[in-house]
């Protein structure tokens, strides 16, 4: 039998190392991507909550202004327009923008009892429902 001197230059140890390194690198990359995603998500939640609390504070400020104006009997149509407060059917309504898609809606009675104080979605959805219906 003829013996050849052809050598690939790679032994079993080299192959095992390449495989191990490849596995660990993939695992490390996946771990990093997951951690990065978690961190970004947590940051987004914090900034979302911060925006909501800011809007809530502005809503409270507006409530105080309205209360003060009512007590001093200074409420006029112009004042309400200036403050962007609607007064219809005995209700005061205003909304504070939280972000592009959401706002804080406040509805108060004539005696300034809070009737609605909630986050609402303001995005006008452009959904093509017809494609889902036969």
């Amino acid at each position: 039998m003829k013996k050849t001197n052809v050598n690939s230059g790679m032994g079993i140890s080299m192959l095992i190392m390449i495989f191990t390194v490849l596995c660990i690198t993939i695992f490390a990359s996946l771990t990093y991507l997951q951690a990065n995603y978690n961190y970004t998500e947590a940051k987004n939640i914090v900034s979302g909550k911060e925006a909501y609390f800011e809007a809530d504070y502005h809503a409270v400020e507006k409530y105080r202004e309205l209360k003060e104006a009512l007590e001093k009997n200074e409420i006029t149509m112009q004042w309400l327009e200036e403050k962007k407060i609607d007064h219809q059917d005995g209700k005061y309504t205003y909304s504070i923008k939280i972000n592009e898609n959401q706002s804080l809606k406040v509805e108060l009675s004539e005696t300034l009892e809070i009737e609605v104080w909630q986050k609402v979605t303001t995005t006008d959805g452009d959904y093509d429902f017809e494609s889902f219906v036969d």
Partner: protein
């Protein structure tokens, strides 16, 4: 025979060097990931606590007692006129969140 053992030693050397290099990089990535996970956990925990204190302030209309012993951040609440300022700060001094809470009397 001599050449064979030389080749084997050379290969082992390459394997050790490359493996060590890759391991150092991978350990770095794992450490970074671990830190990011820890930061994410701190942010989530801090925002939950801030929300709890804000609800408490709005419900009771008074300065609540900060009793939560957080790991990695501190929460402080101050009264500023009619309003309350709730802030969460990491142990290294970085601000996580600061909110002003208005109370309707």
């Amino acid at each position: 025979m001599k050449t064979k053992s030389y080749n084997f030693l050379l290969e082992m050397l390459v394997v050790i060097v490359v493996f060590t290099f890759c391991m150092v990089i991978c350990v770095g990535i794992f450490t970074n990931s671990s830190q990011k996970n820890k930061d994410a956990a701190i942010l989530s925990s801090a925002i939950r606590q801030v929300e709890t204190y804000v609800s408490e302030i709005k419900a009771n209309k008074e300065l609540p007692e900060v009793s939560y012993d957080a790991d990695g951040y501190t929460i402080s609440i101050e009264k500023d006129g009619e309003d309350y300022i709730v802030s969460a700060t990491k142990d290294d001094g970085e601000s996580i969140i600061q909110v002003t809470v208005g109370v309707i009397q």
